[in-house]
Amino acid sequence: MIPELGHFALILAALVAAVLGTLPLIGAHTRRMAWVALARPAATAIALLITFSFACLTQAFVANDFSVAYVANHSNSLLPIQYRIAGVWGGHEGSLLLWILMLSWWAFLVAMLSRHLPDAMVARVLGTLGLVAFGFLLFILLTSNPFERMLPGAEEGRDLNPLLQDPGLIIHPPLLYMGYVGFSVAYAFAVAALLSGQLDAAWARWSRPWTTAAWIFLTLGIAMGSWWAYYELGWGGWWFWDPVENASFMPWLAGTALIHSLAVTEKRGSFKNWTVLLAISAFSLSLLGTFLVRSGVLTSVHAFATDPTRGVFILIFLVAVIGSSLALFAWRAPKVGLGGRFGLVSRESALLTNNVLLVVACATVLLGTLYPLLIDALGAGKISVGPPYFNAVFVPVMIPILFLIGVGPFARWKEASIPEIARALKWALAAGIIVAVALPLIYGQWSALTALGLFFAGWIVASGVLNFAERVRQTRAGRSIVATAFSQPRSFVGMHIAHIGVAVFVVGVTMVSSFQDEKDVKLAPGESVDVAGYHFTFHGVKAVEGPNYVAAQGVFDLSVDGKFVRKMNPEKRNYHSSAMPMTEAAIDAGLLRDVYVSLGEPIDRDKPEGEWAVRVYYKPFVDWIWGGCVLMALGGLLAMLDRRYRVRSRAAAIVPAGSQQA
C-alpha cells in the first residue's frame, strides 16, 4: 500500500509541475496576477509530494519490502540499516528520485527566500523550474518507476553493490546531486531574465548566492567522490578521468566560470550575455552528465544497467531543455547591451581571461569524454581516452589561471596599471620562488613541474595575504588592525579563502604526483617491507566475518625508525551476494602524508596462511587535495552569506531595468 501511495504522490507532483510550468509563466507575460500568485504554493506542493514519495520508498527499504522490484534488486535483509537507507539512491530509479527530490527542495527554497523579488520574476523562475521538474517526473514515471511491484515478491533481496556499501555512498550522491540540480536555479534565473528582457545588475545579484550555493555542493560532492575512490578502490588514485567523473567536473568548471562572470555583471553590468550563456551551460552540462551516465553511451565504472528507451527519453528531454533555452538566448542576446567599458588591463579583463580559460578547460574535457563516442559513430573503431590526454591538455590551461588568481584581486575595475600590480605582487613572487625551491630540496628531488606547482601555491597564498593586508590598511580609519580585519565583507574574505583552497589543492596534487612511492611485494608472515621510511611487518591474515560478507583480514604493524606506530588491517572482502572480491585498504592518514596498505591475492590460492601479494603506498600531502576543496567550499559559503544579499530593502528591485547599460 505504501509504495502505491508513493507512486500516486509522484503522479500528483507531475500534474502540479505541469501547472507550475505553464500558468505562472503565462501569467507573468500577460500580467494576470492570480496566475502569477500560483507559483509559490505550487512549488511548495511539489516539494511536499515528492518528499512524501521519497519517504515511501525509504520505508520500503527499511521494512525490506522485496515485493518492490527496485528494493529487491538493491537491498537485502542482512544489509545494515544505514546502507538500506542509502540504498534508496543506490540504483538508477532511486537516484532519479533523489534528483527530483533535490530539484523540488531547491524550488521550495526559492519560493521561500524570494520575498524581496518582484512577483513576476519569481513566477518566471519557479515556472521554469516547474517545466524541468515536469520533464523529469515524466521520465521517472514512464521509464524508471521505483515503485514497480514484482508479484510474487522475492523472498530475499539481491543486495546492494558492495562497492556502494560504504559511508561515502551515504554522502556522495546527495552532495553531488544538490550541486548538479542546484545549477537549475541559476538556469531558471537566466531563462527568466531572458523571458522578461531584464538582464541587469539586480538580476545578477539575485542569482549569485544561489549559484554559489550549488557550486559549494558540487565542489564537496566531487571531492567526496574522489576521496571515496581513493580509500575504497584500493588503487591509491584520487581522480581517473572516468566519463562519469568528467560529467561532474564539466558543470563545475562552467559553474566556476559563472560565479566569476556574475561578479562582473553585478558590479559592472558587463558580460551579460556571457553570464547568461554560462548559466545555461552549467545546467546543460549537468543534464548532459545525467544523459551520459544513464543512457549507457559511454562505458564507465559508474554505469548502472542501461536501457535504450531511457536514453532516447533523456535525449529528447535534453533537446527540449537545452535547445529551447539556447534558442531563447540566440533570439534575445543580440538586444542586450554591452555594459560598462573597460581597459585592456583591468579586473574585467582578468576575469574575462579566467572565464575563457575555464571554458576552454571544460571544452577539452568534453572533447576527451565524447571522442571515443565520435570515433565509434564514424565507424573508425573503439578507442578510449585516458589520463595522458587529460593531463596533457588540462594542466597547461590551468597554469595561466593559477597565475591570474594572484593578479585578479589587485587589478582595479575599469583600468588598472601594470607597474602598480607588479609592485604589489613582488613579495608574492618571492614567496612563490622560496616555496618552489625549498620544498623539493627537503624532499630531495627537484623537477620543473614540481617547482611550478609549488611556485603557484606560494604565489596564490602570498598574494591573498598581501591583498587582505592592503585592504585592512586602506579601510582601517583609526580602528585596530584586528577589528578591521574581522569587519571585512564576508564575500571578500570568502574569495581569498577559496583561492587559498586552490593553492592547498595544488600543493596536494603536486606533492603526491612528484614524491609518492609505492611497492608491490610478496610477503610471507613475519616478513616486512619498507616504503619511504615506513616499515610494514606482515603477521599473516585471519578470517573475519561481517554482517553480509566474509573477509580475509591482513595484520600489519607499522613502525618508523624502529618505533611501533599502529596496527593496520586491510581486508579482502567476499560479499555473499557478489562474485567480485572487494578490497578495503588500511590507511594511516596524516597532515603531511598518508601511508596506505592494501591486500592483494594469496600467492597460492590454497595456502592463505602463506605468501600474499601486498601493495603499500606512501602519499605525501594527499589529504591536501580534499582539504583544498573543503576550503574552496568554505570560501563559497562565506561569500554566499555576505550581508548585502540579506539586506531586506527593496533597493535591488527598484534599480530600473537597463540603468546599468552604457
Partner: protein, 194 residues
C-alpha cells in the same frame, strides 16, 4: 541570422552524435582472440569426471563454447535461448563451467580443501542443469578459472564461435539475446558450415 545561432548549430551536432551513440554498444569490445586459434586446454568432463576433453576433440567441426556458472544471474536469462537452440540446431554447444565454487562469493575458499571444492562444484553444476535444462553436448569444468584467463573471460556469460580449423571467429560478451542469435550467430554458423 545572428552569430548566436551558431551555438544552436553546435548543439544540434552534439545531439546528432549522442543520438547515433545510443545505437552503439560501447561494451562490444573486439576480442584479440578473434581470428586466433582456440587456446588449448584439457579439462574434466561434468558427465564423466574421470575423463578429460580438449579442443582437439572438436577438430573438423564448427562449434560453440558457452561460458557459464550456476551463480551467474545473467546466465539464467540466456539459458532458455540456448536450450531452444540446442533442440533445433545441429551445431555442438560445449559448456565451459567457470569457477563454479570460487566465483560464488558465499564460500570461504581459505577453509575449503580441494577435493571438497571439486565435489561441491560437480554437485552444483549438475543440479543447475537438471533444474534449467541441459543444452550442452558436454560441459567441462574450469574450477580455478585458469582456462578462463586464456580465453580472456571478461564476464560470465560469454560465447565463442569456433570454426572447423579451430579458429575463434566470434566472441559475444554478456547474455545471448534472440537478436544476437538470429542476426549474428546463426548466419555465421551457416556460412562456416557451407
Amino acid at each position: 541570422m545572428n552569430r548566436y545561432v551558431w551555438i544552436l548549430v553546435g548543439f544540434a551536432g552534439l545531439v546528432a552524435l549522442l543520438a547515433i551513440g545510443l545505437g552503439l554498444n560501447p561494451r562490444d569490445v573486439p576480442s584479440p582472440l578473434v581470428g586466433k586459434p582456440v587456446p588449448a586446454f584439457t579439462l574434466a568432463k561434468l558427465s564423466e569426471p574421470e575423463k578429460t576433453v580438449s579442443p582437439k576433440d572438436m577438430q573438423g567441426k564448427v562449434w560453440l563454447l558457452n561460458v557459464w556458472a550456476s551463480w551467474c544471474v545473467s546466465c539464467r536469462q540466456e539459458h532458455p535461448i540456448l536450450v531452444e537452440f540446442s533442440k533445433k540446431a545441429d551445431v555442438p554447444l560445449i559448456g565451459l563451467n567457470y569457477k563454479e565454487v570460487r566465483g560464488d562469493g558465499g564460500f570461504d575458499m581459505a577453509k575449503m580443501p580441494a577435493d571438497e571444492e571439486r565435489k561441491l562444484a560437480w554437485q552444483r553444476a549438475n543440479k543447475w542443469l537438471a533444474e534449467h535444462g541441459d543444452p550442452y553436448k558436454l560441459t567441462v569444468m574450469d574450477l580455478d578459472g585458469r582456462v578462463g584467463i586464456d580465453f580472456g573471460v571478461y564476464g560470465v556469460p560469454e560465447t565463442y564461435v569456433i570454426d572447423k580449423a579451430g579458429v575463434i571467429r566470434m566472441k559475444h560478451t554478456g547474455p545471448i539475446t534472440p537478436d544476437v542469435l538470429g542476426k549474428k550467430i546463426m548466419p555465421l554458423l551457416a556460412e562456416l558450415n557451407k
